[in-house]
Symmetry: C3
Subunit: 338 residues, 3 copies
């Protein structure tokens, strides 16, 4: 992954040997290799350390051969691509989390401004009382930042945007004519949990949120930043109040998400799809362009483009409604169930 230095500080490079000491891992390969960043396994680039924690041995493509090193259980050391240094350890993901903390650091609300970064607030932008714009942020022409809103270090906001009262934005690049209503939370850490030696731990979240032009984000809605990639909200997408958009989600153009929409991590939703109220979508599911999902549906698998689905678990809406009617008939007024 590519780290955006406006949001994260690079702390490395760190040697493989140092990561081994930090995590208690055994090195299988060149311990002097230098590590500069972290990544998921499938797309790790030169200098990046990843992890593999599958129940079966890694398949072709699971681990990028350009990774410098990979935390892995000892039994899979031999299964890594040639040239990737193995760091064998009992809990690879937890070790990776620990390593990440020595390589990257989210810029803090209370950091000193970076010497080489300018804060850039357009002269026609208006910052309401109590709003806080952190060093290194950029606010475009005619954009209004509401009272007591918070804009994080390095955040870029385009022109003609409205940021509501008490909203907060961090680790985000925001286009033009975007509206973010009161209390929305853009760019918080996603929900990535891994097992550690003493209990559950938070997995590292070093991505961003990209919000394209003409997007509207409802009040108290949350859009998490990506883990190792970006969360992306396409042009003209309209998101109602109290929705949750997880890390790495990609929403297409003009996608509509009604209230309490819950889009789990790494879901992709095609252009023009429409989600009724309190629709939930499980992680990594793909929703086709123009699909329509009825209110209250719980979606656990792919929906083809243009389809209408409903129910929990979601299925084509005709099938769902047929089941509802049939079941009622079996048990309804004056009829004994057979």
């Amino acid at each position: 992954m590519s780290i955006d230095r406006r949001f994260y500080e690079l702390l490395g490079p760190v040697s493989v040997s140092d990561l081994a000491t930090l995590t208690g891992a055994a090195v299988h390969g060149d311990s002097t290799a230098q590590v500069t960043g972290v990544s998921a396994a499938h797309n790790a680039r030169r200098g990046e350390v990843c992890y593999f924690d599958g129940a079966k041995p890694p398949a072709e493509g699971d681990i990028s051969p350009t990774a410098v090193a990979c935390f892995v259980q000892e039994k899979y050391v031999e299964a890594l691509p040639a040239g990737v240094v193995a760091l064998s350890v009992a809990m690879p993901r937890s070790a990776h989390t620990l390593a990440a903390g020595s390589l990257l650091r989210l810029r803090s609300w209370t950091d000193q401004p970076q010497a080489d970064v300018q804060t850039n607030i357009h002269e026609t932008a208006r910052i309401a009382p109590g709003a806080y714009v952190a060093p290194g942020a950029a606010i475009g022409e005619q954009t209004v930042i509401g009272p007591n809103a918070v804009i994080g270090p390095g955040v870029q906001i385009g022109r003609d945007c409205e940021i509501g009262a008490n909203a907060s934005v961090q680790c985000a690049l925001i286009g033009n004519q975007v509206k973010i209503y009161a209390g929305a939370r853009i760019g918080e850490s996603g929900f990535g949990v891994t097992a550690g030696p003493n209990g559950a731990e938070d997995a590292p979240q070093y991505g961003r949120v990209i919000i394209q032009d003409h997007v509207t984000v409802g009040a108290n809605t949350c859009i998490d930043r990506g883990a190792f990639d970006d969360t992306i909200i396409g042009e003209h997408a309209k998101i109602d109040n109290l929705c949750q958009i997880g890390h790495n989600v990609v929403l297409g153009r003009s996608v509509l998400v009604a209230s309490f929409g819950g889009i789990s991590g790494s879901v992709t939703i095609g252009d023009g799809a429409m989600l009724g109220g309190r629709v939930g979508i499980a992680d990594h599911v793909k929703i086709g362009a123009g699909a329509q999902i009825a209110a209250s549906a719980g979606v656990f698998r792919e929906i083809p483009p243009g389809d209408k689905w409903g129910g929990t678990p979601a299925r084509p809406i005709r099938q769902w409604l047929k089941e509802v009617a049939w079941l009622q008939k079996q048990t309804g007024d004056g009829k004994r169930a057979k």
Copy 2:
């Protein structure tokens, strides 16, 4: 509709001819007629422009004969009431949205105070550190505004109220002894989406929120302002955390809404109705007085007064429970489904 000038600025009048130029519409009638406001079609008053975008021709009463003009598809031009100027256009609702922007404007957080409007904070009211009270607001006797809360321009709050930390209130009239907990969002724009030439657009929201005496609003709950009418919360209504109350909703007296209650736009709920946790109600549905809705229900149609309903789609609770038990019996331990 009647526009509350404490919250909105009137920008007109604008001639029908000007609106035609702005929206690319063709005028059928008096192009010099003056337009002062916008409205929904069924209750448009003198001077107001509305739109009609039905799939079938307008029926009696669909379009108020007092409207000055109406955006409409060309095929329905002749179907408008006599005296209403037709503005024919391919996308009537989108044109209406554009027109609204030239007639009305939400007062901004950063406007200069209005010369003729006083801010009126009672001497016994207490404003905590960091709270922002905008010009033109009124805060009653003994009312406490929490730290970093935000009160919008022209908002009226009665006596003995508590506004929580980081809560925000705009476009709202609030009675006495009302409690609004931390992070609640009162008066944000409702979720009205219309198709525009380049993708989804936000429909205009020019109403208010009315909260009557003794109401309690939970933490991080959102109550949207009306679109062309008001959202109304009746006396002694009690709303839990993280609920969503859509535009134009009318809640009766002592209505109870447990956490994650989702009340879609234009729903009406009668006095004393009780909603369990995460109940969702589809738009325009009526819930009778004293109705009880079981937790998790998804309500798609009217519930009569005093009835108990549950399930998704919701049905009388006895029927729902009968279905649940019957289905379990068909498939349960040691029994083969027939």
Copy 3:
């Protein structure tokens, strides 16, 4: 219950006679007895007034014999334990609420600092711009309070914690290495509603929130304080965005709650239990250690340790999936329902 004076002011003692006058109750017993606090009935201690409002007479253990007095309907006056003064009244719970207000008071955002209480912010703690730390709070070593966050009177926060932008915390004791993301609401009043003479009333909420070490609380999540006891979040528990944790809930170690998790009042969840997205749990339900609950489930009864459940109403996941498949088979493609 034990009242934490850092959060509540004791207004009493008040005589039983005075409470009778305040509430219109009739005294059956010693009207000069002094009342110092309020409590639930089963664990009321010396000096505390409770209420009983059951549909059947109180059973052994329902009312603590150490209570000084108990509001009760007249028909149950004789059923109270010996030595507990009966205060007979038509609406016992409403009377108790009224009495509570004369005995206890939540310290307000705008109170003068208490003379004998120090504010204690460690020299290495960092308070971001716009954050408000109320008098009597303590902030530990290296802890960061985000911009426009609010920390209430007497709140104790340990070391190496992160409190997000616009978050608020009151009536809470927070351990070390705790992360509370932006907009989270810790310690607001729980949803306790009682019938009063003029409509629904808020029941008193005089407890606290205890958050143990290494807990993470997601953005815009709400954790209510206890009513008469504490809400407790165990070590390493990880709670996603937009969750609701009700009053008196006890979460074990390393419990995981995904987005839109709704945990109703007095629920207990054992160590290591995992809740998928938008799981709802009804009040007073027990979830065993290591239980797994599928996304979208609505849980109305106890789940044994280690079990996997799903559906609404929730049942063992195998049974739920069997029902889903069977129902689909009865009504699916080319097959007529029998």
